[in-house]
Symmetry: C2
Subunit: 363 residues, 2 copies
Amino acid sequence: MGRLPTVSDVAKLAQVSRQTVSNALNSPEIVKATTLARVLEAVDTLGYRTNAGARRLRTQRSSTIGVRFEPISDGVSGGLLDRFLHAITEQADSLGMRILLFTAVSQEEEIAKIRQLRAGSDIDGVVLASTFHGDRRTEWLVRDRTPFVMFGRPWGQGKAEVPPHRWVDVDGATGVKEATSHLLSVGCERILFLGWPSPSGTGDDRRNGWLEALATHAAASSSSAMRLWEAQAQLLHVECRDTLHDAETATREALAAHPEVDGIVCASDSLAIGARIATVMTGRSDIPVVGFDNSAVAQALGLSSVDQRLDLVAAATLELLIPTMDGAPLDEADNHRLISPQLIVRDTPIVLPLGSGEPRSSL
Amino acid sequence: MGRLPTVSDVAKLAQVSRQTVSNALNSPEIVKATTLARVLEAVDTLGYRTNAGARRLRTQRSSTIGVRFEPISDGVSGGLLDRFLHAITEQADSLGMRILLFTAVSQEEEIAKIRQLRAGSDIDGVVLASTFHGDRRTEWLVRDRTPFVMFGRPWGQGKAEVPPHRWVDVDGATGVKEATSHLLSVGCERILFLGWPSPSGTGDDRRNGWLEALATHAAASSSSAMRLWEAQAQLLHVECRDTLHDAETATREALAAHPEVDGIVCASDSLAIGARIATVMTGRSDIPVVGFDNSAVAQALGLSSVDQRLDLVAAATLELLIPTMDGAPLDEADNHRLISPQLIVRDTPIVLPLGSGEPRSSL
């Protein structure tokens, strides 16, 4: 033809209206399947390429959300953010949006990449994950007026302070409280909490769930039960790094010092597997152990665990992000969602001989 | 300013040349960090947004690779494609390219989505994963001249036939051969292969690795060893579905029928964990078991397993895809890469009581 094909050329070849071509490219879900196929065939035959790009350029909208994708993280709960990514990709897709992945080796580089993607109208907004105490990215993004939602709480802030951005998080305290209440309901009375060294926003929050469950239980009992709770809360709390080995060692020591322990609630599945190994090795395999994350490993091993409901996290993230991308001002009274996780109870123990997880050699 | 800001406006504000602005946006790695920061600050201040979009429109290039992202897949090896995605995102990023995720519920919808993304110049090429026997997507993509590389072999084709597209796959036969040779080298003589029902492209390939290792071993021995190999190859091969439960049942039956079995090689980690449970429950925990995928579960449990080297798969995929996106014609003599996986040996068994993996109830 000697010139770039237009919408009219596509419409003519497909024998449909220009509006139908536009619908086929922008809202395919409202177009009949056979018509859609004919339009896409015409798009293909003509090599029509510019409509969506031109629209994006004109409107400076890409219907695309940027997510920093970190290197593979090994370990028991390593796939957690992948599960979130699956959920948000599915749900964004059903809203006509897509997920663009990029990588960065530092907070500074992440900010630079986001600026570049915004400058190219490649993304309309961002989901920040793997946030941590002292995270500086939020401040930058707020200043740069980049639409974003944080998956994770602004742990650094005081309770009274409202952060100047939107966030979604999982209510770990409620999850661990449910896990502890479950053990109390099946007759456990001396429940150990195995967590991470304090301060840890996520870890301290989960430990608080255990304390709350014990306090609620004690309050419903006699005053001596309350004294018991106070003693227990001080004694039956152990901290270690998030590895099977450290969890096994810490649990062995705790069981030696407190043989009365009859249940263990953990801040993660790694800790739970380590704790389970320790209970078996010390002849205490009757002690129930509950983990956190409902990882593939917990599922395969039949360990009880708290599931983070990443499908609900993804839905809440999009619910907050999309108005932000449309320019809605921040409503301080409605700037976050706290998702209740779900305890999954499994209890058909079998005995399985396993390795330590350390490779002996690679061929 | 009353008009959209231009490269010149950015250059003026940042006190750099227009070329430096262009470099900052298109090849940031060649720009000094302090200069880059100044340019991005100016981009931000001015709200400069159109350069990359305009370039993409002009060149019809997006430096973006589309990947269909499927729903979360549970089970032992469910995270395999996630690990591939991490590897290819990292490596694409280091080449200045990005990964765009989309979803589709059928092959037809996947093709329609790819056409739409190409029509909008949103992607330059595609990685097809989760291919299977009778996959129709390749034919469509070839006809549509969409640059793509398939992760997975064109199993449907005869050996002599060269498929009209590029592909990368993991050499499962070589991986299982190494696993079997390893068991032979530590003294096993009656090695059971636990695999999936035939025909299965991937499964039959892995089983062939076991046969090859036995044949090689027999050939290096006496002629009675060769006869033994023939008998063994016929008898010590069991097929079942890819679940822990079916693998446990199949292994129990095989051990009852063939108590001489002294080693087990499996087509997957799910099968290996089921086999491991069976060996323990029948008092045969001395039998070494090797899995395939080096999943998080195998790592956590200390099971030996074959690692697919998805970092090498990702590198090979990009090596083939990038010239395709640049318009290079297909070279039939150099249209694929077959990656050798790596056996990871772990052997420090411990005893661990575990659940069956079936949830009893959800709260």
